[in-house]
């Protein structure tokens, strides 16, 4: 992750109703929840601001109707936000002309959809080559690149199949290959694995991790599955009723939920795999035994046995083996099972 900002959203609103623009103007750009309700408007996205760093995986999470899908469509301008500002690589995307927008989508953005969005009349190869075809790239070149993408997602040999001949997981692999064919800078994924069976979902998540290690894209990923979010995210943003409730690392979210709503999500999170030892350690005392120390960046699940079976605090070291703190049974238990 670098510090360079790839996407920046400032006070983004998306309001549905008879006259959204007029409504926003009447309320000085900051309508209250009551104003929305009383005038019959729906605030799908309300006053959302955040940045996505280059190479970061930002996961936006929320229940259905929380506005997460609308938000990703505002960033890609599949929907036009009512007010606010969205910068994409430093350029305001909301003032982009249709032509510029098409160029942006042809070269900088890739998107994966929940129900795959494959063209049923085209073969796998021709689906993946589609974004290249409409750019006017000649057949030989685009088929070559499409084949590479199909290999990359592990569908080699199925180029001539039609979508209806593939399983859901395979179809989504095609969707992924297609979204990567133009080698986009930013990769948008809108609940890409939600339509899949649980087993396939885990497999596809592994696949996603593998691809990201290869490609290192900037990613905005939408899901309603908190576990999926904690597994894949650098940072998670939780949305409720159109508002961004909390934006932080999974670890922070579990340890310090911003409110009850977030806490409710975090309650069933696999804490042992999210919280790092570093986050629960205290400064090392002078007399802490130095045998079998644990590493600070390890998740507590990996260190739990050592800490819980020791009858004294266990030393925490960093990657160079230098002591950075200590952790005892009490802190470990509290971290594993949550503050009661």
């Amino acid at each position: 992750m670098s510090d360079q900002v790839q996407i920046s959203c400032r006070n983004v609103w998306k309001v549905f109703g008879p006259d959204p623009a007029g409504f926003m103007k009447r309320h000085g750009g900051q309508p209250t929840t009551e104003a929305l309700a009383s005038e019959g408007y729906i605030g799908a996205v309300q006053d959302v601001s955040f940045d996505v760093g280059a190479g970061e995986i930002l996961i936006v999470m929320g229940l259905s109707g929380s506005g997460k899908s609308t938000l990703i469509r505002c960033i890609t301008r599949l929907n036009d936000p009512t007010t606010g500002e969205i910068d994409f690589e430093g350029n305001n995307i909301l003032t982009a002309k249709p032509k510029e927008l098409i160029e942006l989508r042809r070269h900088k953005m890739g998107m994966v959809f929940q129900n795959f969005g494959l063209l049923p009349h085209r073969s796998v190869l021709s689906n993946v080559a589609f974004p290249l075809e409409i750019q006017g790239i000649d057949r030989r070149e685009r088929n070559k690149r499409a084949k590479e993408m199909i290999e990359l997602v592990g569908l080699g040999g199925r180029e001539d199949y039609f979508p209806r001949e593939l399983s859901g997981g395979q179809q989504q692999r095609v969707g992924i290959a297609r979204s990567l064919a133009v080698e986009p800078d930013v990769w948008f994924l809108d609940e890409p694995f939600s339509a899949l069976d649980p087993l396939i979902r885990t497999e596809m998540q592994d696949e996603f991790i593998r691809l990201q290690q290869l490609l290192k894209k900037t990613i905005v990923f939408i899901t309603h599955d908190f576990e999926e979010a904690t597994r894949l995210a650098d940072r998670i943003g939780i949305m409720k009723d159109g508002r961004l409730v909390q934006l932080s690392t999974p670890e922070q979210m579990v340890l310090h939920p911003a409110n009850d709503y977030v806490a409710e999500f975090a309650r069933n999170a696999p804490r042992d795999r999210i919280i790092s030892v570093k986050a629960i350690m205290e400064p090392a005392a002078q007399n802490t035994p130095t045998d079998h120390p644990v590493t600070g960046t390890d998740r507590i699940g990996a260190a739990a046995e050592r800490v819980l079976t020791a009858d004294h605090p266990v030393l925490v070291i960093d990657h160079e083996g230098l002591p950075v703190g200590q952790v005892d049974r009490h802190a470990m238990t509290k971290a594993l099972f949550g503050a009661v």
Binding site: L78, I102, M111, N115, G117, I134, Y161, R178
Partner: protein, 660 residues
């Protein structure tokens, strides 16, 4: 509204919403209407001298258009002539290929053997051996029964009209999906066009374009275009959101999105639209024999007029076969999935059907130069059962008519005529008032205004009596359609086996052009009101069956299980659970039945009636555009009144039931 809500909780179907309408409103209207007639005779029957002479105005307008209208030095006549010429080129070429032969080059037409085999090959390519066999045999029938030339005449118009109608329909459909203004203009126009019977299209076309093949084709194109547009709209609007968004995110321009994403994705719907265009075209071409289009339709018309029923049966069968062939081919094509060939498949493998056809074409072409009978089967080699059928029909009527005749007369005199007299007696304030009340209760002010004013317009333009006769015929027939159709639909929903048979019969019956239904009716019942009603029955019962079946099939399994778990007897389950759920759907079927019945009344004019259909039919030879067009629109108006009332009711019901 409020009433519907409160009473519907208990038994949400039972027609109670209708019954619960304050009936006194109807009583007031009826009593008031009858009272009015005592005050002024004009309330019983609208006086002739108060009729708005719209008929004459329209007739005169079209005469002016045909003779005098001009922009600058170009008269309207030049314009129509240009269209005629433009359309006649592709038609002449197709005719030359199919049966005339290419005279300037001294070439024969495509040999019938090649057409028969070619159709079979096409059938195999699209749908496999069974389809190939069926379409091949059907085409063979046309040839060996000596109907080849007439069939090819008819087919020529179809082949030229279909692409034109489809292209225009597609274009208009796309316009509608892209512009709200276009939608506001075009959609209601289609509603009106689809409710207007075939024949009404012929009148203005005759006035402006004359008699013959080209005017027939023009009327056909106009008539057959709306279904394509509708399917295009439906197809484009039902492309999944994900697919559209993925297209946009791939960087499609709007044009690329339309041609590369929306249209290919809705291929199936578009192909079904094409199927409907083909079927409508064929139906219209047959009717267009009334404006001098030669071909099977004309031959059939002559045979019917001369009561040569044997010939009529053979010609009718030819039309039916062509209809079914075209239907099966286009349907199979719509449902056909693109096959993927592996990269190693050779060119010959991929194109074996086309290559085989080309081979046959060349061989037969050369052979036809030596053996003329390969080009078109000479008359002495054809075959007919006309005389035998004539004889059989005569014998049958001689013996059976003793039984059928009295029954027919009894039904006509004791049942139909009193009903007819009732309709004719009905004072107009009563009917218009009842329509208004029903319209208001079911759909509010807009529905009331529309339906009542349409009925008033029929009266003011001087079509009250023929309209009442139409209503009498249609509603008598529809009642019987329901009595026959709904039980069949129920039966079909009880057993998979019956369902399969019934639906196949329904599908097949629906492909027949309406004209065909006249043949057996004339054979059995001769002419008269009962024959009209039976012809309508034969044509219009299908939707009642189909929608009943579909409605009952759509009852969720959970509901039925819950009913059983609650201890319902099968009878209770049916009446208290399934029927209530299916009723709105069944009513939509009734709606369809009314539409088809109205379309058929126009056709039954050919076997004698005094209704609106007859008005159109009479207007044809005298080129009385106003009369023909208004009578056609009158039929459309009756259809729209029925449609608006029933749809309003069904929509409300469905909403209350939480369906949709």
């Amino acid at each position: 509204m409020d009433i519907a809500h409160t009473t519907d909780e208990a038994r949400p179907w039972s027609g109670r919403a209708l019954l619960a309408l304050p009936l006194w409103q109807f009583f007031v209207v009826i009593a008031g209407g009858i009272l009015l007639t005592t005050l002024w005779e004009g309330f019983a029957r609208w006086p002739d001298d108060l009729v708005i002479p719209m008929k004459e105005w329209i007739t005169r307008f079209f005469e002016w258009l045909g003779k005098e209208a001009a922009i600058g030095s170009y008269s309207f006549k030049d314009f129509t002539r240009a269209i005629s010429d433009l359309l006649s080129y592709p038609l002449e070429w197709t005719e030359a290929l199919l049966y005339r032969g290419i005279k300037p080059l001294g070439l024969p037409p495509i040999p019938w053997v090649a057409v028969v085999l070619g159709t079979a090959i096409l059938g195999h390519w699209i749908g496999g051996w069974r389809l190939a066999l069926f379409v091949g045999a059907s085409m063979l029938y046309l040839s060996i029964f000596g109907l080849w030339k007439d069939s090819m005449r008819t087919l020529s118009i179809v082949l030229v009209a279909v692409p034109i109608a489809a292209a225009i329909g597609l274009f208009l459909g796309i316009r509608v999906t892209r512009s709200k203004r276009a939608a506001a203009i075009i959609t209601p126009m289609f509603d009106l066009m689809q409710a207007t019977p075939h024949m009404a299209y012929l009148v203005p076309v005759v006035v402006l374009f004359g008699f013959g093949q080209v005017p027939a084709m023009l009327a056909t194109v106009i008539f057959a275009m709306p279904p394509m547009a509708r399917c295009a709209i439906l197809g484009i609007q039902t492309v999944p959101q994900d697919v559209i968004e993925s297209g946009r995110m791939s960087g499609c321009t709007p044009r690329q999105l339309l041609w590369k994403v929306q249209l290919p994705t809705s291929k199936k719907t578009l192909m079904l639209g094409l199927n409907q265009v083909v079927m409508q075209t064929l139906a219209m071409v047959v009717i267009a024999s009334l404006v001098g289009a030669s071909g099977l339709g004309q031959k059939l018309l002559f045979s019917l007029q001369q009561l040569r029923l044997g010939a009529a049966v053979e010609q009718g069968l030819a039309i039916v076969l062509i209809a079914v062939v075209l239907d099966r081919l286009t349907q199979a094509y719509a449902y056909r999935e693109t096959i993927h060939y592996s990269a190693t498949t050779s060119f010959f493998q991929r194109h074996k059907h086309l290559l085989l056809f080309l081979f046959i074409l060349i061989v037969t072409f050369i052979a036809a130069n030596f053996h003329k009978e390969l080009a078109i089967l000479p008359k002495k080699m054809t075959f007919t059962l006309g005389r035998e059928i004539d004889f059989a029909v005569r014998e049958f009527s001689k013996n059976a008519y003793d039984y059928i005749g009295p029954v027919r007369d009894f039904i006509t005199v004791s049942i139909l005529l009193p009903i007819r007299d009732f309709y004719l007696w009905l004072p107009w304030p009563v009917l218009v008032g009842c329509i208004a009340v029903a319209g208001y209760r079911l759909g509010g002010f807009p529905v009331m205004t529309l339906t009542a004013s349409l009925m008033l317009a029929i009266m003011l333009f001087g079509f009250w009596e023929p309209a009442m006769l139409t209503i009498y015929l249609v509603f008598s027939a529809v009642v019987i359609c329901i009595l026959i159709g709904v039980p069949i639909g129920v039966l079909a929903s009880r057993s998979e086996r019956i369902a399969k048979v019934t639906m196949t019969i329904c599908d097949t019956l629906q492909t027949f052009p309406s004209f065909i239904y006249l043949i057996p009716v004339i054979m059995l019942f001769k002419v008269g009101d009962l024959s009209n009603i039976i012809a309508i029955l034969a044509y219009a019962t299908v939707p009642a069956v189909r929608y009943t079946y579909l409605g009952l099939k759509r009852v969720p399994e959970v509901l039925k299980e819950a009913a059983i778990a609650n201890g319902c007897t099968p009878r209770q389950k049916f009446w208290k659970v399934e029927m209530p759920f299916a009723i709105p759907e069944i009513m939509l079927g009734v709606n369809q039945t009314i539409m088809m019945a109205l379309a058929m009344t126009a056709i039954t004019a050919l076997i004698g009636s005094r209704d609106l259909g007859q008005e159109i039919y009479r207007a044809l030879p005298t080129a009385d555009t106003g009369r023909g067009l208004l009578a056609g629109l009158g039929i459309a108006a009756i259809g729209i009144i029925a449609d608006r009332l029933i749809s309003a009711w069904a929509t409300k019901k469905k909403k209350n039931l939480g369906i949709e």
